[in-house]
Symmetry: C2
């Protein structure tokens, strides 16, 4: 099993779940007759990122993980989203990018050294980058986005968070 | 690389981070002269788990991942914690349990079939159990615990969330 490939697939699946949570939020807003774009600027604490920035950061985290571990240049996204529709587009754009990767793109990813842009001269081994930084960071933003909707009354539960499972008989 | 072993180490590290966020919360409470045990019942939404249950669920998620993928019986924890001190003890107990595992305990974990107690007759392949269910579930509870403290004014940031990184020169 290639850990990087499995993780990129995991992040794509979670972004698809996030995309569906936004649909549930839009339905909730319709039912209460308020503008669903209110969610875009909602936040849990005044000095924490708003929903829009949580979604952008989740997308970026997944995008950089895939690109860096495959030794490719990621596409640029300028963080200009201001509406629910634009957030849907951002998520779907990044999911499509993640789905362009094949398992062989990540050959040797565990031992590839990934430079850190915020720490000039420093980098991390691919496996450390994945387990210590990018996966926790990705789930941080996805879960905080979920929590913002949840706290605003949107009817989401763990089943929505986890999404579908590949079951087998035992 | 053994994915199950690396993931169990990742979860142990995140639980150690959670243990330190609680220390920061206790210092914050002291500075404002309120009882830090108030955090135990804090929650983001009235129909979401309180802090105590988020911590218990994070501990259980990591414990079950390690035990199920190694084919062992996990220790039982009856969820009786009512104070910050008891939450510290629960976390440290589970971290110590996670640290008893060695890489060879997880030989063949990817293809081991893990029965699901909440879906009688159904189970998941070890790799699916790890990537689709347990890792998202673990980070859900850890991040929600963090968000509860953060929303209550505790001075935490991404550096506290991620913890230490294994850097190397590039």
């Amino acid at each position: 099993m290639n850990v990087a490939f499995a993780t990129v697939q995991q992040h794509a699946r979670m972004l698809e779940n996030l995309d569906r949570w936004i649909d549930v939020a839009v339905e909730y807003a319709k039912g209460k007759s308020f503008d669903p774009n209110v969610f875009v600027q909602a936040r849990l604490a005044p000095d924490q990122y708003a929903f829009v920035r949580q979604v952008q950061a989740a997308c970026d985290s997944a995008k950089f993980l895939a690109a860096r571990l495959a030794g490719k240049d990621p596409p640029k996204h300028p963080d200009t989203e201001q509406s629910i529709d634009e957030l849907h587009a951002r998520i779907r754009n990044v999911v499509a990018y993640l789905k362009t990767f094949r398992e062989e793109d990540f050959a040797g990813a565990d031992t590839r050294v990934v430079p850190l842009t915020f720490r000039p001269g420093k980098g991390m081994l691919g496996a450390d980058y994945l387990f210590e930084m990018q996966t926790p960071n990705f789930f941080f933003h996805v879960t905080t986005a979920y929590a913002i909707l949840r706290q605003n009354g949107v009817g989401l539960g763990k089943v929505n968070y986890i999404g579908s499972l590949t079951l087998r008989d035992v």
